[in-house]
């Protein structure tokens, strides 16, 4: 499985209330909270897509659309240039 990686120049900053994705080249800044924050944190810890999905299923067993939600969020990050 291909590893998910932040794009060059993108850093993830983790705080108690959420996280910040910052692109030093463009100045773009994105605030992440909740599940999105959890996903960004796992990407930052070098988890691949399958590992992230497994972790999400453990954390949110009642959620039915986790796989699609994860896919959508990864797509969103790619569109914003946050993922390599």
């Amino acid at each position: 499985m291909k590893k998910l990686e932040y794009a060059k120049g993108v850093v993830f900053r983790k705080e108690p209330a959420g996280g910040i994705l910052f692109n030093i080249d463009t100045g773009n800044l994105q605030v992440t909270e909740g599940v999105a924050f959890g996903i960004c944190d796992m990407i930052d810890r070098d988890k691949d897509r399958e590992e992230i999905l497994m972790e999400l299923k453990k954390l949110y067993p009642e959620e039915k659309n986790l796989e699609q939600d994860l896919e959508d969020f990864i797509m969103e990050l790619r569109e914003k240039g946050a993922l390599a």
């Binding site: 900053r13 705080e15 910040i20 910052f22 800044l29 605030v31 992440t32 909270e33």
Partner: protein, 344 residues
């Protein structure tokens, strides 16, 4: 490339009916002239042609302007977003009808305390509080998007708690907390002079933990936790034109008290001419955010926060590229959040 003047702050009335302790308007001086309604319409039309989409009627007290109702109607017909900042003590004839017919994007009123006497003393007029609360209640009754702005010069918690209760009883939508800056008369009692950085950060943390999400402190982005960033508004200073009552072009309204921040006067100078040639606007474009100094240079929020308020930075640090004073003090004290630092 010259950006679009997307935001226009106009100050139509030549002064104010109150005498607030923090205001920059009466502290300074201007010619005493005011543009006629048709001149304001022409100015607004020129701004619209240039791409302006947001007009704020502010002051001084904008509702003092004799033709404020037709001016508001014209602005609301011409621009997607029109806002009004008022002290809420005046209700000109036809004003509410105009607001109901053409809903503004937003109206903010100033209430500084839940105690009438405290507010009236701060605003320099007995009875002001009662009028403004009645105004705010009317905004709620008419379902007009509204905000109450409270100005503070210290870190007392009780006045904030009491204001939250008042806002809830009025039914207003949000409470913005402004920290009095050393501009105009504010220099005699500014928040920055009255509080240490340790007290300030403790106060911000208290606001975050103990007040509802609709309480919006005017805190620089870097000093806010992540959960509060989404509701933080940023100054549009690079796309912003201000116009004083006599048509003088200004950076927001600061030229009331700092004449060097004015250049050109409508109608002798057109909106386009002022926007393209004013050394004030040119200086902003050339300097902000890339030349921001001190902690701003190292901050991940530099390009969106752009120093929080360049006018305040000029007053506290001497130049428009000076860093935000609170962020700089936090950094100097080793209290600036490390997660917001970046090497540039």
């Amino acid at each position: 490339m010259i950006p679009t003047p997307g935001v226009l702050y106009i100050n139509p009335a030549g002064g104010c009916n109150l005498h607030c302790k923090h205001c920059w308007v009466n502290e300074g001086s201007f010619t005493g002239e005011t543009l006629a309604l048709e001149q304001w319409k022409e100015l607004l039309t020129q701004a619209k042609v240039m791409g302006c989409e947001y007009v704020k009627l502010t002051g001084g007290e904008p509702l003092l302007y004799d033709d404020i109702v037709p001016l508001y109607r014209f602005a609301a017909d011409s621009f997607p977003k029109v806002t009004i900042e008022t002290n809420g003590t005046l209700q000109p004839d036809g004003f509410w009808d105009a607001l109901v017919e053409r809903k503004p994007f937003h109206i903010s009123v100033s209430i500084d305390s839940a105690e009438a006497d405290v507010h009236d003393k701060f605003r320099g007029q007995t009875g002001a509080w009662k009028k403004t609360v009645a105004f705010a209640e009317k905004l709620v009754d008419y379902k007009i998007n509204n905000q109450v702005i409270m100005c503070v010069s210290d870190t007392q918690r009780k006045p904030i708690k009491d204001m939250i209760n008042l806002i809830q009883s009025i039914g207003a939508y949000t409470l913005k907390i402004n920290f009095i800056t050393p501009s105009g008369r504010g220099k005699y009692n500014s928040f920055f002079d009255n509080t240490s950085i340790e007290e300030t950060l403790d106060f911000f943390a208290w606001i975050d933990k103990e007040t509802p999400a609709w309480v919006l402190p005017s805190v620089p982005a870097a000093l806010l936790p992540v959960n509060r960033l989404k509701s933080l508004g940023y100054c549009a200073v690079r796309n912003l034109m201000g116009v004083l009552p006599d048509g003088t072009f200004s950076l927001c309204g600061i030229a009331f008290s700092r004449k060097e921040m004015a250049w050109g006067k409508f109608p002798e100078t057109s909106v386009q001419e002022a926007w393209e040639n004013s050394p004030v606007y040119k200086m902003i474009r050339a300097s902000v955010p890339d030349n921001l100094e001190g902690i701003c240079r190292k901050c991940i929020h530099r390009d969106t926060c752009i120093g929080s308020c360049v006018v305040n930075n000029m007053e506290t640090g001497g130049t428009i590229t000076s860093p935000d004073i609170l962020c700089q003090r936090a950094y100097d004290a080793g209290l600036f959040p490390k997660t917001r630092l970046i090497d540039r």
